[in-house]
């Protein structure tokens, strides 16, 4: 325990300082990464992880990931996935994720940050040796944003390892770190105390108890410093300073009850019974489930007894007796209720999950007495982890059950699509084939024309560019020439001259218009290309449509069946784990309530005796004050002290 406990204690400070460490979404390039941050910021770590895992999986599966939008955030994403896993209490995976960054070929600053995060995980898992080993991997440049946190963590690790002198050295250097206001001062005080330098520790805790800050965490740690300092000074019999220190603890903070109780005992130890009543009377009016309040119910009448106001003391003892009896009834009802399984049901109430202060709200549920003491149980880190795990398991169970019903819907959807598309596909395939042959034809034509035009650029062929009419004329002239033959009659010669004339005119036209026609032919070729492109696009569209149709119902049976099986198996495991985790929670809660019961039993017995004693003393005092002046003897202060009430906070 001595090793484990301080690390738990110090983790409180560390967690508060590092809680807001997730990446921000400014200058966002990847919307899905932003969506993961959106979930994580609300504490929905399952959704955040699922989103980011998917994104990272896709990114790492790409041939050229540098063109993916996640590339802009890949460093942050790799870290965030580890952070999300840590927040989702998946330390093993978080460690693996960060180790992967650490082992990768990354910038020294990134590697140092990874080492820091890994060290933080080890520290949170009570593995200080491993944490120190990870911290020792930090070398060279440390990012400014984490420089102080690295030192703070190192100091905490030293303390967990029982090396307070080393921790003192590091913490002394951190006293001006703004992000650690309050925490560094407090931890330095504790380190000095562990190192056996009690006077220095007292002075340091005094400084920590005066730190000015409006931050909630810093205020809480300041209160804690004052509470510990007050207790130490009380131990050293410096009651006045002890009271002053305890008086600095805020009345609304988490340490207020203990501070009020101890302030009262400090005054009592200094003989100031009247002044002790001030904090105790405040405390006695508070929530009676708190052990400090329960003690104050006995302590206040004890002080009245010391002041010889026995009537008032008797009344207050009577009130305490009632309160203890009522509390005992409530504790018994709680134990009974837990045994009936109502505790676990109450923890899973849906409306509570919507409330940030759900633990406090649980106390107000009239039908669930077992939850009344949850606040005290929640102070234990182990119980918190167990409870969080139980709630996480319930969340997993709900998801798995919902997925099981989804599979049936998917099957229906796929069947409907099959019924719709199957009859249509033969027709689509026929269209597809026709279009395919048309495209092939056009493409061949285009290729042929293109080749011919390319050839004409080097070897002009005007005849290739003749129009249909001109080709007919040319062929007609060839035919006439064949008919005329080699005859040399004057009529024939006249006709031959006319044919030659016409051919000459035709040739003239073809030659003179050659360049113009060549340009025009190229224009037509390009137009053909447009037609082919349109046909190709239609072709691709048809392919896509067909593929989409097919993909909408083909190939799902195997993955759906596999997933259904995996979901079923996971659900079984979750149910089993929930039962075991729930049983553990119930046992712990009942054990804690039994401890309370024993304490209340003791208080009740003391109150019973004290009531009788106080009435007796009040009666004797009244008799002493009668006119006949008869004296019955002095009241001895020690006789009025309740037998088992221990000053300064008797809860264990």
């Amino acid at each position: 325990m001595p090793r484990r406990a301080p690390s738990r204690l110090l983790a409180f400070g560390l967690a508060a300082v590092l809680a807001a460490g997730s990446a921000s979404g400014s200058d966002l390039h990847d919307l899905y990464f932003g969506e993961a941050l959106f979930h994580a910021d609300q504490g929905h770590y399952f959704d955040a992880l699922q989103r980011l895992d998917t994104e990272l999986g896709q990114y790492h599966g790409l041939d050229e990931p540098q063109y993916d939008s996640l590339h802009y955030h890949i460093g942050a994403a790799e870290f965030d996935v580890g952070d999300f896993e840590l927040n989702y209490r998946m330390h093993h995976r978080a460690g693996r994720a960060i180790r992967a960054v650490l082992e990768g070929n990354v910038d020294p600053a990134v590697r140092n940050e990874a080492a820091f995060r890994l060290a933080r995980i080890h520290f949170q898992k009570d593995q200080p040796e491993d944490a120190l080993h990870a911290l020792e991997r930090i070398e060279g440049e440390v990012p400014d944003a984490i420089a102080d946190e690295v030192k703070f963590l190192r100091a905490n690790v030293y303390m967990a390892l029982g090396r307070p002198a080393d921790a003192v050295e590091v913490l002394a250097d951190l006293q001006r770190a703004e992000s650690l206001t309050g925490f560094a001062a407090y931890n330095l005080g504790i380190a000095l105390l562990q190192d056996g330098r009690t006077p220095d520790a007292i002075e340091q805790l005094d400084r920590a108890g005066r730190v000015a800050s409006g931050e909630r965490g810093a205020e809480a740690i300041r209160d804690k410093a004052n509470l510990i300092l007050g207790t130490m000074l009380f131990e050293a019999a410096d009651y006045q300073r002890a009271y002053e220190s305890l008086d600095r603890v805020r009345l609304e903070g988490p340490f207020s009850n203990q501070a009020l109780l101890r302030a009262g005992w400090a005054e009592v130890s200094a003989g100031n019974f009247e002044r002790a009543l001030v904090p105790w009377n405040i405390l006695a009016k508070r929530e009676v489930t708190d052990s400090a309040v329960q003690e104050a119910l006995l302590a206040a009448p004890f002080a009245y007894g010391k002041l010889e106001i026995h009537g008032r003391a008797a009344l207050m003892y009577g009130h305490a007796l009632e309160a203890y009896t009522s509390e005992l009834d409530r504790v018994d009802a709680s134990i009974d209720s837990i045994r009936k399984g109502k505790f676990l049901k109450a923890l899973l109430r849906e409306e509570l999950k919507q409330d940030r202060d759900w633990v406090i709200r649980l106390r107000t549920l009239p039908e669930t007495p077992e939850t009344y003491y949850l606040m005290a149980l929640m102070a234990s880190h182990d119980f918190q982890t167990a409870l969080s795990n139980y709630l996480d398991l319930e969340d997993l169970r709900t998801r798995l059950v919902s997925w099981q019903t989804n599979f049936d819907a998917f099957k229906d959807m796929i069947e409907l699509r099959k019924q719709n598309y199957d009859p249509l596909l033969p027709e689509v395939d026929a269209d597809f084939r026709e279009l395919d042959s048309q495209i092939r034809l056009r493409m061949e034509q285009r290729e042929h024309l293109d080749k011919r035009l390319q050839g004409m650029l080097t070897a002009p062929r005007p005849d290739y560019l003749a129009t249909a009419d001109e080709r007919i004329v040319s062929e007609r002239l060839d035919e006439i020439e064949r008919h005329l033959g080699n005859s040399t009659t004057p009529e024939t010669q006249a006709l031959q001259e006319r044919v030659a004339h016409v051919r000459g005119a035709l040739t003239w036209r073809l030659r003179t218009q050659y360049h113009e026609r060549l340009t025009e032919a190229h224009t037509h070729l390009n137009e053909l290309s447009v037609v082919i492109a349109a046909m190709t696009e239609r072709y691709h569209s048809l392919v896509r449509t067909r593929q989409a149709a097919t993909h909408s119902y083909v190939g799902y049976d195997v993955p759906i069946n596999q997933l259904r099986r995996r979901v079923g198996e996971a659900l079984q495991r979750v149910n089993l784990l929930m039962a075991r985790q729930g049983h553990m929670l119930e046992t712990v809660a009942i054990n804690e309530l039994k401890v309370r019961r024993e304490r209340l039993d003791g208080y009740q017995t003391q109150a019973r005796f004290a009531v009788a004693d106080s009435y007796d003393r009040a009666a004797r005092l009244q008799a002493d004050m009668r006119p006949d002046g008869a004296q019955t003897g002095e009241v001895q202060p020690d006789e009025t002290q309740p037998a088992g009430v221990q000053p300064g906070g008797g809860q264990q």
Partner: protein
């Protein structure tokens, strides 16, 4: 007795931080074992979820028709966003009212996927209306209409919302 008790108190305060120390070593070991198993099952369920998500996307939002609309807030904007309404081609596809936690997450740079659905390839119109409050408590209502082109790949439409003090358009559409 007082002195003995004081020593106990000091030790208790320093080492246990005011909480009930209920867990014995055996309990702690059992708890640790359970914690390991819970981590394993979480990992398995996350794996199933990722696969299921891919299957759902393929089945429900194939890439050639997939459209997703995202909402982001301009950085540092003080406007309190109450609700957003989105119409695609005149059809209401999303009407979302924001909780405090969601608004906080948006202000911290998170991006909300407000809608995922299907549209045909080609030109489409998206209408966005925003309701909120300004820092002074005045109502803030804005509306915008934008065109977007849907190709064969999934279409991601990002809408960045801003108040009047940011110096940016109230509703800005971005392509991803």
């Amino acid at each position: 007795m007082l002195r003995t008790f004081r020593t106990v108190v000091l030790t208790v305060v320093i080492w246990t931080c005011c909480g009930p120390s209920w867990a014995l070593d055996a309990d702690r070991e059992q708890m640790k074992g359970l914690d390991e198993q819970v981590q394993e099952v979480k990992s398995d369920v996350l794996g199933i979820s990722a696969e299921l998500s891919r299957l759902e996307e393929k089945l429900l939002y194939p890439s050639n028709t997939q459209v997703a609309v995202f909402i982001a807030l301009a950085e540092g904007d003080a406007m309190r966003l109450d609700a957003v309404q989105v119409q695609i081609d005149g059809q209401l596809v999303a009407h979302y009212i924001y909780s405090f936690k969601e608004l906080d997450a948006l202000k911290h740079g998170g991006v909300q996927r407000i809608y995922a659905g299907n549209v045909t390839t080609g030109e489409h119109k998206i209408d966005v209306s925003v309701t909120g409050k300004l820092q002074g408590g005045a109502d803030y209502n804005q509306a915008g209409s934008f065109a977007f082109q849907k190709g064969v790949e999934p279409k991601l439409v990002g809408l960045t919302l801003a108040g009047p003090d940011s110096g940016r358009p109230a509703i800005e559409i971005g392509d991803w």
